[in-house]
């Protein structure tokens, strides 16, 4: 092939790749329909944490709160609440909601998961 043919081929290749990227990223991107709570947008995550804080305020069940927090991330429960608290402050949460989050944050800071004793341990 002549050099001009190669140039045309490369140009066509580049245009084709660009078209493919536009189609794949913009026109028909991969759709995620079965996402996990970890991927939730920050404000939705914060609201989920607020739900747990509202429940915790009533039942004071730190274990249950920690288990529900674990659904939205592998971080320590206190860190998840801390992030939610930060998001809540930035988004202008009502003082009462911030109080609930702070209460949950305090509880999660001192929360220690109950360890199950291993069978056969003397």
């Amino acid at each position: 092939m002549s050099p001009s043919t190669w140039i045309k081929l490369l140009i066509a290749l580049a245009i084709g790749a660009a078209l493919g990227l536009v189609y794949g990223w913009v026109i028909a991107p991969v759709e995620f329909i079965d996402t996990t709570p970890e991927t939730l947008r920050a404000d939705y995550r914060a609201d989920y944490v607020l739900m747990i804080a509202e429940t915790y305020h009533a039942d004071k069940d730190t274990g249950l709160a920690a288990r529900r927090l674990a659904i939205i991330g592998s971080q320590m429960p206190a860190d998840i609440v801390k992030q939610a608290l930060q998001t809540g402050r930035e988004a202008g949460y009502a003082p009462n909601d911030l109080t609930l989050l702070e209460e949950l944050f305090t509880a999660m800071q001192s929360y220690q998961p109950v360890s199950i004793p291993t069978a056969g341990t003397p």
């Binding site: 092939m1 043919t5 081929l9 066509a12 660009a18 990227l21 995620f32 609201d47 747990i52 039942d59």
Partner: protein
């Protein structure tokens, strides 16, 4: 004659294939700002549990409604009821099931407990927000307007309704028979034993175990499996010429000598009627 530009066609096809491979496989669009509606089904269930638990604590129906709307269910009440039934069948924690069933009931406008007003230091939760986020996302959520608008602004007050408790069977308090009636309706399933279980405030209680016994047999069934008939409703198919005894699983007064009644029909014949029994927890 000009030659067909095959190199352009081949280049475009190969390039497009490479581009698509990169965009769809190697580096697909990262979805980091998902909305609750896109969650996997089991996580949506967890989300509903959290909403119901929070509602049980706050009694803020508007907030619960707004949160449920984020999940994009076609019929939140139906979805909640179905989840409660499924959890009941899977022997999930009865308190959690009750919270979900109660939210479903209250969303239908039924069984709203009378609010108990008391002094509290809190401002009304309805005055708070679900944060209409200013974040710009790749895929703006369709439910943005819901979260942004479904929080009615109400004046801050020192007096606010205290959260009411979800009706649950109080352990230890025995159920008593409030009423027992013969049902002679030809359009009803024959020989149906209909049971209603309510608490002291006449609110239906889901998830209550009922035990029916007869000579040589026993069966267990639960309230709440037919939410369209009420969360405290359950039924049992009786057989003619058999005497049954029915009691609430946790104890209390049993209903004895239950038999299929014979009812007169309009044309002078007879048909098998049913029974309707209501248990109440004092």
């Amino acid at each position: 004659m000009k030659r067909f530009p095959w190199e352009l066609i081949v280049g475009l096809i190969i390039g497009a294939a490479l581009g698509l491979s990169y965009a769809w496989i190697i580096s697909p669009t990262r979805y980091i700002d998902a909305i609750p509606a896109s969650l996997r089904a089991d996580f949506k269930d967890q989300y509903r549990i959290a909403i119901s638990a929070a509602y049980a604590s706050t009694s803020d129906i508007q907030r619960a409604r707004a949160r449920l709307a984020l999940l994009g269910d076609a019929d939140s009440v139906q979805t909640l009821s179905a989840q409660a039934q499924q959890m009941l069948a899977n022997e999930a924690d009865i308190k959690t099931v009750n919270q979900i069933a109660q939210l479903a009931s209250d969303l239908q406008g039924k069984n709203i407990a009378p609010p108990v007003h008391t002094q509290t230091i809190f401002t009304p939760l309805a005055n708070t927000t679900l944060i209409p986020s200013p974040n710009v996302t790749e895929n703006p959520p369709q439910t943005e307007s819901v979260s942004a608008t479904e929080q009615p602004q109400s004046p801050i007050s020192a007096v606010t309704p205290r959260p009411t408790q979800t009706p649950t069977a109080t352990s230890g308090a025995p159920f008593t028979i409030l009423s027992q009636e013969t049902v002679c309706k030809s359009n009803l399933t024959e020989a149906l034993l209909q049971v209603y279980v309510i608490d002291s405030h006449r609110r239906p209680i889901p998830g209550v175990e009922l035990i029916v016994t007869w000579d040589g047999g026993e069966d267990h069934f639960f309230t709440g499996f037919k939410p369209e008939l009420g969360n405290g409703y359950a039924d049992f198919q009786m057989q003619a010429n058999v005497s049954y005894t029915l009691r609430v699983g946790s104890g209390g007064t049993p209903a004895t000598n239950l038999t299929v009644p014979v009812c007169p029909s309009a044309n002078g014949n007879t048909f098998n009627g049913g029974l309707s029994i209501t248990f109440q927890q004092p």
